[in-house]
């Protein structure tokens, strides 16, 4: 199931700015996401990290600057085709409540003309990968636990074997135990598939768990782009230090 080199996809933001009303969500930022790498976008809410994903998917277009996919500028004409090469997973899953799990998974494959047997096989394959019980397939999202919903959302993103995965706070709504478990599984899956992965989170520990490369954003600009050690040892400005130190640790055990 591992993606071959040719199937990977690289993204570039080139001096991109995006304004929503009075809010400047992205302020002239340039970022490269090389094919086959895993990157974590971190920052407080409103820092612009989700906007990066929206621009890469063509859900929005930058006011100035451009988005390049494998070196080619993203335009309206190719946006649908591009999106089908990307799996997109959001907080709480964004599952369609009127469709069963299988119905959610089948939505894109059916449009692509897959026959039912192929859809079922692929769904079962992914259920194994994500440790989802097979009997859940015929249930509706309302009948699933939070963790199951997130697994299904990931499966839905992976159904058509995309070249990249974009995840926006995929574990944000889960309780700590399930979250911990899914962090393990996601990391395993990322490594197993070898796709280009961009994951958005506000949790530094989670970001560092998934990715070597961390991109810390604030008010629409990149504050620092580097490894966890870079952020800790060589902070680009005082905000980085504050962000790093804002992560809670368990108190030491007292003797």
């Amino acid at each position: 199931m591992a993606a071959t080199e040719a199937q990977r996809i690289g993204f570039t933001l080139d001096q991109a700015s995006k304004r929503y009303g009075n809010v400047l969500a992205l302020d002239n930022i340039s970022l490269d996401f090389a094919a086959g790498t895993t990157t974590a976008l971190i920052g407080s809410s409103g820092s612009g990290k989700s906007t990066v994903l929206r621009l890469l998917l063509g859900l929005d277009y930058p006011d100035t600057g451009s988005i390049k996919i494998d070196g080619r500028v993203l335009d309206h004409a190719h946006v649908l085709e591009l999106r089908r090469r990307i799996g997109y997973v959001i907080q709480e899953g964004g599952l369609f409540p009127h469709l069963t799990v299988l119905g959610n998974l089948a939505l894109l494959p059916r449009y692509l003309g897959w026959h039912n047997e192929k859809i079922r096989q692929r769904a079962e394959e992914l259920a194994v990968l994500t440790h989802l019980p097979v009997d859940v397939m015929t249930r509706y999202p309302a009948e699933l636990s939070g963790g199951q919903r997130q697994r299904v959302a990931l499966m839905r993103g992976l159904m058509a074997d995309p070249d990249a995965l974009l995840l926006d706070e995929p574990l944000g709504a889960l309780d700590p135990i399930v979250r911990h478990e899914l962090q393990d599984e996601l990391k395993r899956i990322f490594e197993q598939l070898g796709k280009t992965v961009i994951i958005v989170t506000h949790d530094l520990a989670e970001a560092a768990w998934f990715a070597e490369r961390l991109v810390l954003m604030r008010h629409g600009v990149v504050v620092q782009d580097g490894s966890l050690d870079d952020l800790r040892e060589r902070p680009a400005d005082p905000f980085v230090t504050r962000f790093v130190e804002a992560q809670r640790r368990l108190p030491e055990v007292r003797a």
């Binding site: 859900l59 999106r83 089908r84 964004g94 599952l95 369609f96 409540p97 894109l108 509706y140």
Partner: protein, 497 residues
Amino acid sequence: MSRPMRWIIALSALLALSAFAQATPVRIGSKVFTESVILGELARATAQQAGVDAVHQRELGGTSILWKALQQGDIDVYSEYTGTITHELLKNVAPDADIPTLRERLKPLGIGITDSLGFNNTYAVGMLESKAAQLHISKLSDLTAHPELRFGFSNEFIDRADGWPGIRQRYGLPQTQVRGLDHALSYRAVASNAVDAIDLYSTDAEIPYYHLRTLDDDRHYFPRYEAVYLYRLALVQSAPAFVTALQKLAGRIDENAMRQMNARVKLQGMKEDVVVAAFLGIRADTSADKGLWSRLLQTSIEHIKLVILSLGLAVLLAIPLGILAARLRRLGQLVIGLTGILQTVPSLAMFVFMIPIFGIGTWPAIAALFLYSLLPIVRNTHAGLVGIAPELRESAAAMGLPRSVRLRRVELPLATRSILAGIKTAAVINVGTATLAALIGAGGYGQPILTGIRLDNISLILEGAIPAAILALLAQGLFEGIERWLTPRGLRLEARQ
């Protein structure tokens, strides 16, 4: 079964229910008052005697509706009065023009006129005998001394040039309390002292019954209202025997005979066809005389047909309009605004507006009901689509599905409940509003209500009102069932949480 399939089945089943053929025999119309209905029935019986197939479309409305219908060929014959023809229907004609003159003037319009049937049913103003005696009022000019008197006039009389505006000017009447009333109800109003004077037709059976004094038209304002039939000249070719028979009715009904026939229908509760048969000395055609259940069946079919056709057409247009409105914000506001304006048109006016376009009968009624059904469906389709959670809309978009697929597979199913609620609202409103369709000849439950008001017959009114209420409840229940059937199971589960 796939969900689009279910929609198609539900829609086409509703539309198929309403395919009824219509024959085209000679069509006779009548206005919404007893004498006109009797004369319409007389024309029908006469046609039958002459071996011509004829139908009587009863109680189509007021003068303007019948006159338009005759000119447009929606009906072939109706009874009219010479005074109305000179004052209302023709322009630039002397108020006292005789029938041969009218015949010349009507000919270019393709319309023929019989000679007088033999009676003059002029307008008059009447008061309770007791009250008139007490105030010493015996003629119209006596009214000038009593500005405090309250008048209750039929709506037509208030507006017509030869009605209230004319006598007020001629007699210099000072009264300011003038209310519009249905003619059939005005007798009750004057008898119960709710008003002091009302307009009358001089052949009305109620004049002696309610002990009314007819005030003398001492300045000779009201013209003669000789009863005649107006017919389309095309009938001379298509049904010559009928035209000949119709002309032979001239001079056969005097004022007394007409008042007697009116009394039998209005006061003794006899049916118009029985009264007419007695007058003609023939046996009433009892084959057309239906029992309660077959009458109910007919009005139900007519009513349901109106509702289903108008609703079906509205669904076909309103859902796409709602989708468009949700897509394009500017256009959406315009569409919702326009359908909202349609909703504010008074329903009776809406029915009448449709007549110049569609004539009389079923189609203008369907058109009016159709226009009324648009708003709830457009608004709910729009609201249902706009109300979809943004993350769901984006999840579908981010998959790389084209808009049409997103609409069909995600957005419309998520909006199902809202859309169906809109259709349900439209259906229930429609069932009630369709009772007005009888006023323009479309039948339905409004027919017995209309006749019941005219004859002051409560049980006849209930014969229309009760089934209409039951049908509204059934429509509600039916659409709740359809909603359960069409709403995706996952949405019901979600709503329960």
